[in-house]
C-alpha cells in the first residue's frame, strides 16, 4: 500500500535513485545460466519421479537421494529466478520494454513458475519454467542483435533450448 503510494509519487515527481548495480560494470549478461538452472530443475524432477517408482521407500538411501534431489531443485529454481532478476534489473532498459512489451509479464511469469517449481514436483511446471526462460533468452539475444537457434540440450533431460547462433 505504502509502496504503491511512493511509486505513484515517483511517477509524478521522479525521486532520486541510487544504483545497486551488479556493477563492475562488466556488461557480461547471459541467460544461459538461468536456462541451465531451469533444465536442472526438470532433471531433478525426473530423478525424483524415478526414485519414487522404486520399491525402496523404507531404505535410508531412498531418503538420502530424495532429499538431495529436492535440495538441488530448490537451489536451482531460485538461482534461475535470480539470474533473470539481474538481467531484468541491470540490463533491460525502458526502450527494450517498449520494443518487447511482453517482457514484464514474461519476467513475472518466470518468477511465479520458479516458485511453483520449488513448491511442487510437477514436471509440467518444470517444462513451463524452461520454456519461459527460453523465451526470455530469445528476446535477450534479439535485443543484442544476435541470432538464435534451437537445439536439444546434449544432456538429460535433453529439452529444446535457445542458444545464440554465433
Amino acid at each position: 500500500m505504502l509502496y504503491k503510494f511512493i511509486q505513484a509519487i515517483d511517477h509524478i515527481h521522479p525521486l532520486l535513485d541510487a544504483k545497486a548495480h551488479c556493477d563492475v560494470p562488466c556488461g557480461i549478461y547471459d541467460p544461459i545460466s538461468a536456462q541451465i538452472d531451469a533444465l536442472t530443475v526438470v532433471r531433478m524432477m525426473d530423478l525424483m519421479a524415478g526414485l519414487a517408482e522404486g520399491d525402496e521407500k523404507a531404505r535410508v538411501d531412498f531418503h538420502n537421494s530424495m532429499s538431495r534431489y529436492i535440495a538441488v531443485k530448490e537451489e536451482h529454481a531460485e538461482k534461475a529466478k535470480n539470474e533473470i532478476r539481474v538481467i531484468w534489473g541491470d540490463f533491460i532498459k525502458d526502450a527494450h520494454v517498449e520494443k518487447y512489451p511482453e517482457l514484464p509479464n514474461l519476467v513475472h511469469k518466470i518468477m511465479q513458475i520458479g516458485s511453483k517449481c520449488r513448491q511442487t514436483a510437477d514436471r509440467d511446471n518444470g517444462l513451463a519454467f524452461v520454456e519461459s526462460i527460453n523465451k526470455f533468452a530469445e528476446i535477450f539475444w534479439a535485443i543484442k542483435d544476435v541470432k538464435t537457434k534451437k537445439a536439444n540440450a546434449p544432456y538429460a533431460p535433453g529439452l529444446e533450448m535457445v542458444y545464440p547462433d554465433l
Binding site: 505504502l2 509502496y3 511512493i6 511509486q7 509519487i9 515517483d10 525521486l15 532520486l16 535513485d17 541510487a18 544504483k19 545497486a20 548495480h21 551488479c22 556493477d23 563492475v24 560494470p25 562488466c26 535470480n82 532478476r85 539481474v86 531484468w88 534489473g89 541491470d90 518468477m111
Partner: protein, 100 residues
C-alpha cells in the same frame, strides 16, 4: 532530514531489489554510529550514486568500507574508501515491492 530514494540494480539482492524504495536519514551525526551491515547511499566519483552495505566504519578518520551482496558487485577494493563527506544518508526504512 529524511529522503526517499529509489533502488536500481540488484547488487544488494535479495535484500534490496531493483524498484524498491528506501527512506534515508541524512543526519551526519548518525554516520559515526554506522554498524557493519547497515545500508548507506553515497556518491562515488566513478560509479555515481550507489547504495551498499557498510563493511567497516572508522569514525576517527571518517571513512567507510562498503560492499554489495551479489557475487557480481563491485569489490570493496575497487570502490575504495568512502569518506563521510560523500555519504548522502543511512537507510532507516525499506519499502519493498509486494510479492516475492
Amino acid at each position: 532530514m529524511l529522503k526517499i530514494i529509489k533502488v536500481t540494480g540488484n547488487s544488494l539482492s535479495p535484500f534490496f531489489l531493483s524498484g524498491d524504495y528506501v527512506l534515508v536519514s541524512t543526519s551526519r551525526q548518525s554516520f559515526k554510529r554506522l554498524q557493519i551491515g547497515d545500508s548507506v547511499i553515497f556518491s562515488h566519483p566513478e560509479f555515481g550514486r550507489l547504495i551498499k552495505l557498510v563493511r567497516t566504519n572508522n569514525p576517527e578518520i571518517e571513512i567507510l568500507e562498503v560492499e554489495g551482496t551479489h557475487s557480481n558487485s563491485i569489490s570493496s577494493h575497487k570502490l575504495g574508501p568512502i569518506p563521510y563527506s560523500t555519504l548522502l544518508g543511512k537507510v532507516i526504512f525499506h519499502f519493498k515491492q509486494s510479492g516475492g
